[in-house]
Symmetry: C2
Subunit: 218 residues, 2 copies
DNA sequence: CTCCAATAGACCGACTGTCTGTCGGTAATA
DNA sequence: TATTACCGACAGACAGTCGGTCTATTGGAG
């Protein structure tokens, strides 16, 4: 049975299906046939819209990153929020949990699975290059206000983002809940040192938001 | 033509071939047939020694990591070397360039290629879990000697290793030589802050070793 | 304004080549 | 004789291709 749709609509159908399947079975574990079946289209149709299986993954990552980085930017630009609180908010926005289950519902679940090394790497790359600039701007404000003091705001943020991403979001390090907690503490203290912030100044604000959230990064 | 060899010898032949091929064409880009051909054995032989293609990669990584971490350990244990110098030496030992082209000649060239995401990830994992403990021991000595001051030596090292690994060795961030230089400078200063070391104390020792070496980590 | 033909592009599914892993059997070694 | 290294044909799965079909749109003739 032949159903014709607009290219963009079809593309999104394919991406939605791939999104879910990759989440369940990983990129390598998902065959193009799986996607075909789920969408209900023929092989040729898929390759009419995407030039390869990897092309699908790239499009998926794009779709997700726009959502993520734009959201973070919006908060970062809102100068009515105090600097430190804004940092915490941006970091929270970068956590998937907040992304309402619109189009890229479960994307975050896959990237941790060891199966999806390539996707993981690609998303990491975008985060590592996209997030620090956003945060650096806020840090600069903080420096002007005398909250922070560092000659290397960008490099600090790069370090913070890479570390948080690897440890708190990735599966690089396996931790018990206890280890996780102590690492969070150490992390906050270390960030204070890097930024030349007053000891405890970050900790205080973080505690306000505390609750379930972790302070990971992506 | 049938040639019989000891299992271990054959295994190493296979690993050597895989080593070289993965370096050239990546893991996914290398077929088992390529390996078969290069070693000059039949399919069955390969699967007699290794249970899967991925198993070959794991063995390759193992072989490499033993070389790497043991070398670093040896230096770390040599208490006749001053603490800061020893740190620099350990870091240098972790740079591939030093691994004489014995068995795992070119292993390092692949892990950067985007193709080899899985291998990259696996090696990273070993480094991130294996290197910080080694360095932490030295830091503890440094603390006793009053050189450093931090309540979180392990977490500091974890951060340092993860960052250096991602930025200086990986292809996570693309930099010009100039950016690279400024990042090195910022990195050293940041590490001094993290460790609570006197400003410039690390820089001084690093400069001694300077030359071509970069101070990356793995 | 209507109708029809031509064009673009969405869609189909059989097919190809390649790849990984298996299995029954054979030669060498201890 | 028993074990272990080795062989190569084979099965099953998968990514990507290709010739061709169907549908919607558009623009020109009537």
């Amino acid at each position: 049975m032949r159903v014709v749709k607009k290219a963009e609509e079809r593309k999104n159908e394919i991406l939605d299906a791939a999104d879910e399947l990759f989440a369940q079975k990983g990129f390598d574990g998902t065959s193009t046939n799986d996607i075909l079946e789920k969408v209900g289209i023929a092989r040729g149709t898929l390759y009419h819209h995407f030039k390869s299986k990897e092309d699908i993954m790239d499009a998926l990552i794009d779709r997700y990153n726009v959502l993520l980085l734009d959201g973070a930017q919006d908060i970062a630009k809102d100068k009515s929020i105090p600097v430190i609180e804004r940092i915490v908010r941006v970091v929270m926005a970068l956590n998937i949990s907040n992304v309402e289950s619109g189009s890229s519902k479960e994307i975050m679940e896959h990237i941790h699975k060891p199966q999806n090394a390539l996707m993981h790497q690609k998303i990491q790359k975008v985060i590592v290059n996209g997030v620090p600039p956003i945060l650096t701007e806020i840090i600069r404000e903080g420096i002007e206000q005398g909250l922070f003091s560092t000659p290397f705001p960008y490099e600090c943020m790069e370090m913070v983002v890479i570390y948080a991403n690897a440890v708190f979001d990735g599966d690089m390090v396996t931790m018990t809940d206890e280890e996780r907690g102590s690492r969070m503490l150490a992390f906050v203290c270390n960030v204070e040192r890097l930024l030349g912030a007053e000891s405890g100044s970050l900790m205080a604000v973080m505690a306000m938001f505390g609750g379930g959230n972790e302070g990971g990064d992506e």
